[in-house]
Symmetry: C2
Subunit: 312 residues, 2 copies
């Protein structure tokens, strides 16, 4: 019902990294695509098969050193239901390897509709008395624009399934301030207000390490806000995008961590996925290039956090 | 690139109704489910087949009197990729019958990720030079919390595909005010500010009837705000949920329309889908019961709008 399982994996691996799985066809070596296209043609099935083969190889290369993956569902929806099937298989494969899976879907709705999303991505689906796992991740990113009605169903499912969520608070993109930085009448900003909601929503999902099951998305590209929010939101674990390709550095994310080196997990998508292209190594070596990049990132991050410890 | 095709269909049918397709298994007559379960078992496939058969019958019963359908993707994701396949087939079937399809997915992200969503739901997907339709709706609901970076990719795809979007402005749920009604420093509210963004984002997608391709979601449950926003946002077409089951009445939505009876399309999901249960008619008659309910709704709404006309 909290993010404790994620926290334990971070401590076990001594690595606060989540590997984003946002596979574009352009990132995937030709030999994988050619084999998939030979089998399924240049079709949505062929693309989906490429994604899946690529993801599995990355997971194989990362699971013993990286605690979590974050597949971004947009890159699978783009390939239709066939892509969504590859998404399902990616989640299941990562879980089978012991990784914590954060589905990045930024879902939002109300009441029974949000309950449907929560069951889809974190819970179970009832088909006339038989129970099935539709997608089955460990945590889901959500958007809080609709207020408590949009969050409560995810809280309820998380209580039963021991899962959690990350609410968009201060996102990493250049225009995030257009709405999120606006000042409210009492001189609060919208993102701070959303952060305060996270603390409140999390009360029902408190874990044993001081963090609740309601985390927040806070971008590495806004280091001041990251530091400020870490201090203001002591029970809210952060998922931090924007490191690497979007410009955030290890120094930028220093303020995201607490005195135990906990409090945040830093995402790298392109950096890890496209390491073979950056290295200009042999395409067959792509998965090991990703592992090398993940090790480099671990070294950089733990230079900031020091030893990562569970609180006494 | 705008919502003109929707507007023309509303005028042609003289009906500002969109039928929500949010099919829960509980809404579907047993004879449909039993046939699907006999074929596929009580599985996600069996559930997905039930949804599709039910949706197609509803579409057959509605397409000549209702201009648009709004499938809510959460109810399909709940049944895994199998459900998402039924979603794809529902969209394709509704389009083949000439209906305008609004995918209610409230998607939100930034940059290339949002571009992936836009291509998935409105555009085309490139598989190594071959182009495919992943889902192919006419409009998509989106959430604007991330600012312009999250909207621009949908604008760009809409320019090419002649599609549009509806941005969440003032949602119909009880807690919508927790964030959306907060006053900004200049005494604006967040929902008004989001509405102003819609006018701005829509400038690149202006249609020939005075409305742009960037519409807004405004709930029937907040009639004052609906009226206020209609006056404040002259180029923003409204998608109005919350009518019927959520409590909004025909009087409540009167302020959503302009002097031509345009400016808004009113959603009914449960009202139309569950008409056979409310009528307690023979389950085999479910689709005609939905048609009767849709006709009743059309009568109530056009009593408010009067004759719906294209502007001179």
């Amino acid at each position: 019902m909290s993010l404790d399982r994620l926290i334990e994996k971070i401590v076990e691996k001594q690595n606060p990294t989540v590997a984003g799985l946002d596979p574009k066809l352009a990132y995937i070596p030709d030999f994988i695509k050619n084999e998939a296209f030979a089998k399924y043609g240049k079709t949505l099935e062929g693309a989906a098969e490429s994604l899946l083969v690529y993801n599995k190889a990355l997971i194989d290369a990362l699971y013993d050193i990286v605690p979590a993956v974050k597949p971004q569902i947009a890159y699978y929806e783009m390939y239709g239901w066939q892509g969504v099937k590859a998404f399902y298989e990616t989640v299941a494969y990562a879980k089978s390897k012991g990784m914590f899976v954060i589905t990045d879907a930024k879902r939002n709705d109300i009441g029974t509709t949000m309950e449907a999303y929560a069951n889809a991505h974190l819970g179970k689906t009832d088909v006339d008395g038989e129970m099935f796992t539709a997608f089955g991740a460990d945590a889901l990113t959500v958007n809080g624009y609709l207020g408590t009605d949009g969050i409560k169903p995810v809280v309820n499912v998380s209580k039963v399934m021991d899962t959690g969520m990350f609410v968009l608070v201060k996102t990493s993109n250049p225009s995030s301030g257009e709405l999120q930085d606006l000042a409210l009448y009492n001189d609060e900003t919208i993102y701070r207000h959303m952060g305060t909601f996270c603390e409140k929503w999390g009360e029902e999902l408190m874990g044993k390490y001081g963090y609740s099951g309601v985390g927040a998305v806070v971008g590495a590209t806004y280091p001041e806000q990251l530091t400020e929010l870490r201090q203001k939101l002591p029970h809210t674990f952060f998922l931090v995008p924007g490191y690497g390709a979007q410009g955030g550095t290890a120094d930028d994310i220093a303020g995201a961590f607490d005195e135990n080196g906990l409090g945040a997990i830093i995402n790298s998508s392109r950096g890890i996925m496209c390491a073979w292209q950056k290295e200009q190594c042999c395409p067959e070596d792509f998965a090991l290039a990703s592992r090398r990049e993940a090790e480099k990132m671990k070294t950089l991050l733990t230079a900031v956090t020091g030893e990562i410890k569970l609180p006494d």
